[in-house]
């Protein structure tokens, strides 16, 4: 009988708090979004599962000695996991379209206004009672506008670990929502004629250029923005392994097994930060709201910049491609292509949008470096 009581006391039913129960529902919601809605499933499935595990009373997943404790401590606190993901993303990225049309770099720059405007917004939110974001918190929230998961996780882990869970969830959710968030903004800021503009075919890019490009990026970064070198450096390493052509087995592993293994653990570790104390607060609502604003402003500023560039360009530029500057690779480029096709069935913008799209990845890594330098 004693044994039965001991067993009963070890169950979670007695120990459950409301917060934990709600956080499990949040985890279940993330699983639903990942599996049924196909919202960035590679990350949201492990994040959702991690959130459920982390909130089981008595199981101790996040206590010292628990699995999620180790994974978080080894992989996120050190920054190693997001950096490895970034290396893998670098190995998957083809800079060909950007090299063929370098001016699209500026679209990737413009779209980062989403980040910095949100920084302002987060601080402005402090005027509402209940919000008290520090500058570090605000910076970590603002990076959601970079539409780049590993960058957001890396920056949040350095500047505002308590908000990491909410920030990562917001970042991946909005990246999945890009096909819903972006088109209305794109249509609002362009005429149908502008959306129908066809662009010239891209020139082929030589192997040498592709090899030298990541090195040039690294060189400029280390000269002018050393705080961005962890992110940019690992990204460039991955890209160099891809383009060098002599270490294909390393590049393949970085793109597949290594990134897959790290993704599982990264997701679980991020999920482990979804605890009720930190997530079930007004702040999270604020973060979700600011994230949506960040995506919107980034999209708008990209499109507007493209319109400006089109004015000064001899070759035709379709302003839609500016929207891809937020990154969210390759989803945003696909959205551009789709919206372009709606306006003109002959208008294939995918490759043209890939330029600003990958430029946006660099742009937000650069922005993260700036925030680390100024706030960190």
């Amino acid at each position: 009988m004693d044994r039965l009581i001991l067993l009963w006391e070890s169950t979670a039913i007695a120990a459950f708090t409301w917060g934990e129960a709600v956080m499990m529902l949040v985890g279940a919601l993330l699983l639903y979004l990942a599996i049924h809605k196909k919202f960035e499933p590679l990350l949201l499935l492990p994040i959702g599962f991690g959130a459920i595990l982390a909130n089981i009373p008595q199981a101790g997943f996040t206590d010292p000695g628990g699995l999620l404790y180790y994974v978080y401590y080894v992989g996120i606190e050190t920054g190693v996991f997001p950096l490895l993901i970034f290396m893998g993303v670098g190995a998957m990225t083809d800079f060909g379209p950007l090299l063929a049309n370098p001016r699209t770099l500026l679209l990737g720059a413009a779209a980062q206004f989403g980040i910095f405007a949100t920084l302002l917004g987060a601080i402005a939110l402090n005027s509402i009672p209940g919000f008290e974001f520090s500058m570090a918190d605000a910076s970590a929230i603002a990076i959601i506008g970079g539409a780049d998961g590993p960058t957001a996780i890396f920056l949040a882990s350095k500047l505002s670990p308590d908000l990491l869970g909410a920030i990562a969830v917001a970042a991946y959710s909005y990246m999945a929502l890009v096909p819903i968030i972006q088109p209305p903004i794109m249509k609002l800021l362009t005429t149908k004629a502008e959306r129908g503009i066809q662009m010239e075919q891209l020139r082929p890019v030589g192997r040498k250029e592709k090899i030298l490009f990541p090195l040039a990026v690294l060189f400029l970064t280390l000269l002018f923005l050393p705080t961005a070198t962890p992110l940019v450096g690992m990204f460039c390493l991955g890209n160099l392994m891809r383009e060098a052509g002599v270490v294909d087995r390393l590049s393949k592993t970085a793109q597949n097994e290594l990134i897959n293994i790290v993704t599982i653990f990264l997701g679980l570790a991020v999920g482990s930060k979804l605890s009720s104390g930190e997530f079930l607060s007004l702040q999270t609502l604020g973060i979700l709201g600011l994230g949506a604003v960040a995506f919107g402003i980034g999209t708008a500023s990209g499109v507007l910049m493209a319109k400006v560039m089109a004015k000064f360009s001899k070759q035709p530029i379709n302003p839609l491609i500016g929207a891809a500057g937020v990154s969210a690779v390759p989803m945003a480029a696909r959205v551009v292509n789709k919206v372009g096709l709606e306006a003109n069935p002959q208008n294939f913008l995918l490759m043209h949008a890939m330029g600003p799209n990958v430029a946006g990845v660099l742009g937000s890594a650069v922005a993260a470096g700036i925030l680390l330098a100024l706030v960190g």
Binding site: R103, L105, A109, I115, L119, I123, L225, R242, I370
Partner: protein
């Protein structure tokens, strides 16, 4: 709070300027790059890493053909 806000505003301006300056420098570097790497080899926009099958793939291929022939 107003202090924090004006600080955020400064960061916003500084940040956007830096992003643009940085990526403009990269733009310049890319022009340079193109000059250096001027003789563009036949390789095109696509990935350069999908060329040769790995040993594992070759093994799979060999086995595939082998099994295919046996049938």
């Amino acid at each position: 709070m107003t202090d924090l806000f004006s600080e955020a505003f400064t960061i916003m301006v500084t940040g956007m300027v830096t992003v643009f300056v940085f990526l403009s420098l990269l733009l310049g570097a890319m022009a340079l790059l193109r000059l250096i790497a001027d003789a563009p080899e036949p390789a095109v926009g696509g990935s350069s890493s999908a060329q040769e099958p790995t040993p594992a793939q070759l093994a799979a291929i060999t086995a595939a053909i082998h099994q295919y022939r046996r049938k």
